[in-house]
Subunit: 191 residues, 6 copies
């Protein structure tokens, strides 16, 4: 792909993530016609982020909703350039893949969102925690659905994500926030 | 569908809009495996809304970005209950379908977004205009792609949407806003 | 869709119902690649209508087979214009949707079948009862198959259709006819 | 497949023809997600048969509409057992494949339609001519659509079918009938 | 299909077997979007043939690996001309279908592999036994996967193939070879 | 994915590459239902390798056919673990991705083919050159087909591959070999 640096929003490239099935599912036996796509996933993450941040706001926490939603929308956009690369490949060279993701975002004309992308990767701000939790939840929801259809190998990813959710919650020092998030997550996973 | 009133976010229902191909495309000969889905569409509308509102903000206009993004996310959610109903069916009874849409939104546990949904339907606020333009642009982009693949009947929808964009722009009394939006739209459609 | 009134059979429009997955299935989580289409459904309804009417004729009942088959073929054709609209949307304004369906049929060049369509909707003649039963049976057969594949939300539709079948049978005053139909239905659902 | 002779309508087998893409299309490069299925095809043939026979009746010809529709429905049902076998395979042993088709029909619990199936194969009655013409027309309509989408190898089948239509028309000694059919065919292919 | 005799490799025809879902699966209710294709199947057969022949070589048996792999690649290629024809159709006229397959292979420009194809059909050489076993194993592996997803009618094919594997093993007079093959098969089916 | 080192052929993992559409196509707008999969691609590469090596052998060149076919089968197998990662991601860290690929191959129980995989990557032996050329040709053939269907962005990949073929041919010092390969390639691309 000839990808020029900088520039304007490249909708014609970004739109193609609707054709990319999530690699985690297809490598566990889910045909692309059944597997969710990256854009399906981004949509769900953004919706869950909205739900969680709205709830926190209503309970007195300070959340920048615009930032949360934008971060949700942007967090997987580099995959319009790179495709969906599995954790197994990335985990030994995280900094290399961060660099590639940032270059990809820029090449899509989304350079102005780099700071937000980095904030997401650092997972320190409340907004980035909400988006990461939503990311995990969206995967758990889809994964459980696939397991119920008989795609048993998917269970591994679901468990993995459930662990991640737990770890994120445990790492929170603000106990009231943690309680509010827990209540939210239980509500989302039960419906 | 047994749909209880009110309640909590029903993710398990909302998630199914990823299986609903847009009726406008399939009724013009595009197989579901090629046609975009409602969630694909919502994702693109939200991304374009982000792009346009960010740009307006940078040019000194006052846009509530959180509201714009939320409205984009929510504007087609009733279709998780109703499916995608074509304009031909709706246009003679707009108030009936508005009522159905509002009931549907509520039944999905999204009742708190009813005012936003109504604001979108009224198309008076700047945010609702941005979302409607993004809605049309997202359809034009996908439609042109389909026409290029040989689905010629789709052209009718593309033209229709181009006319809608023009009408919305013409209706704006703030000429600076209109100019800023036009520049944005040209940029999006050219890339 | 620009739809002119009257005219000749519009095959190029009608053919597109093969791209429309049944909304009831997709809104319950069945991907379009797995869900049946409207034309799949019409084919099955027509086949079941043939089976049932043939059987009744052989048992001495008077059935107009040509009428039954034509009614089966025609009963969902308006969906080539409207798409497949769920009961939830239609049930509060049945007369409006009947009007839309009739206009749609006419616009497809099938105006001469309007009386037949109305006869189907009224459900008084034996032929219209056979077609309606076949419609329910075709949905039960497909629904049970989907439930067996793990699409559990579909069960609601299956039960609904089973109730409809029962109600139709109960409403019959001719007990011999009722018995003959029951025998038929049991035979079809068991194989 | 364990297929017992005789018996009752085997809906659970017949229903599977909706998963069989037409071999002629897929062997010319059309992916199954784009190609029509056997049940899509049967539906269209039956609809065209209805159209043509109704028209002939209105113009004073004597057509058994029930027979025409039943024949249309039944003419490709053996493929629920055999799959869709291309002409190249069948043409040197037509009697063997007729035998297989008839056995298949019987095993689907459709034995009572064997005389009708044979009548179709003999192509002597007006009803069998209408069904065969509809069969060709349905293939031409779908084929032209595929050619317009860029599947150029399909053209060979379209031409083949156009020749068949011409030959059938030329073989008719009743010139008024021929004229009526020609008018019908032109009408169908133009819309 | 106009197929000239002899000539050069016809890649543009052969490539289309990737669009042909295996008839055995689709006629048992598996949608093409879920069913494996002929090229998927050939790939798996070739891989299993490699595995088995490599293993035999390492255990001191004499296997022509190049011949085994070529035979695997070629054994289903005639289906690029004929489509995938089920056993039910072929079993009463095996010699006719062998002739058709051989003509098809030739027409694909693969005439030089006819002796290999015949060797496969005769099932006497060790290489042909390895390929046939791999053919059965590949079908068992896919079949079991489909059964686990809820496609229960597929079980019939799985059992059939398991019987075939057993019969082939029982027919081997060289007991050491038989033991080595059994060990291999158990290893493959367990992973 | 929990992937243990060494061990036996993991068919249940390898089989999933049939669900992985090639990332190059989907990121250029080809829906997975139209795009080829990794196993489709491997099949074609292996077939072309057979064709080319057979031809060279017949013209007096010394080719190890078994090695060529095995290398073709194995060359993309690591993607059963990693998915299909685009060149853009890999090109700045080739040694890292080679390491990942080798680990993946081992984890699939294919460790014994590591030397062959390395030989392929070094592109020095005649066999590795044949496989690489087949890899490019298979991509050109599929790419041209997609361009003809209207997926114009694919042209970039086709040109890229055509350049690679040319470079490989130019790098050959044995002019007779080069001539023989050129003749082969022209033959393959013309049919």
């Amino acid at each position: 792909m000839k990808i020029e640096k900088g520039g304007f929003l490249k909708v014609s490239n970004i739109i193609n993530i609707r054709h990319v099935p999530r690699t985690g599912w297809v490598l566990r036996g889910v045909p692309p016609a059944v597997a969710e796509t990256i854009s399906d996933h981004i949509f769900l993450v953004t919706l869950l982020s909205l739900k969680i941040s709205q709830d926190l706001v209503e309970n007195g926490f300070k959340v920048d909703v615009a930032k949360t939603l934008t971060m949700s929308l942007v967090h997987d956009l580099p995959e319009a350039v790179t495709g969906d690369i599995v954790r197994y490949v990335k985990e030994e060279e995280p900094s290399y893949f961060k660099m590639i993701d940032e270059k990809s975002l820029e090449s899509l004309g989304m350079g102005k969102y780099l700071p937000l992308y980095k904030e997401f990767e650092e997972r320190k701000s409340l907004e980035s925690i909400i988006v990461k939790l939503s990311d995990c939840l969206a995967t758990i929801i889809e994964g459980r659905k696939l397991v119920a259809l008989g795609y048993r190998d998917v269970e591994e990813i679901v468990k993995n994500m459930e662990n991640q959710v737990e770890k994120i919650l445990e790492s929170l020092s603000n106990l009231e926030l943690r309680k509010a998030l827990e209540k939210n997550i239980i509500g989302i996973l039960e419906k």
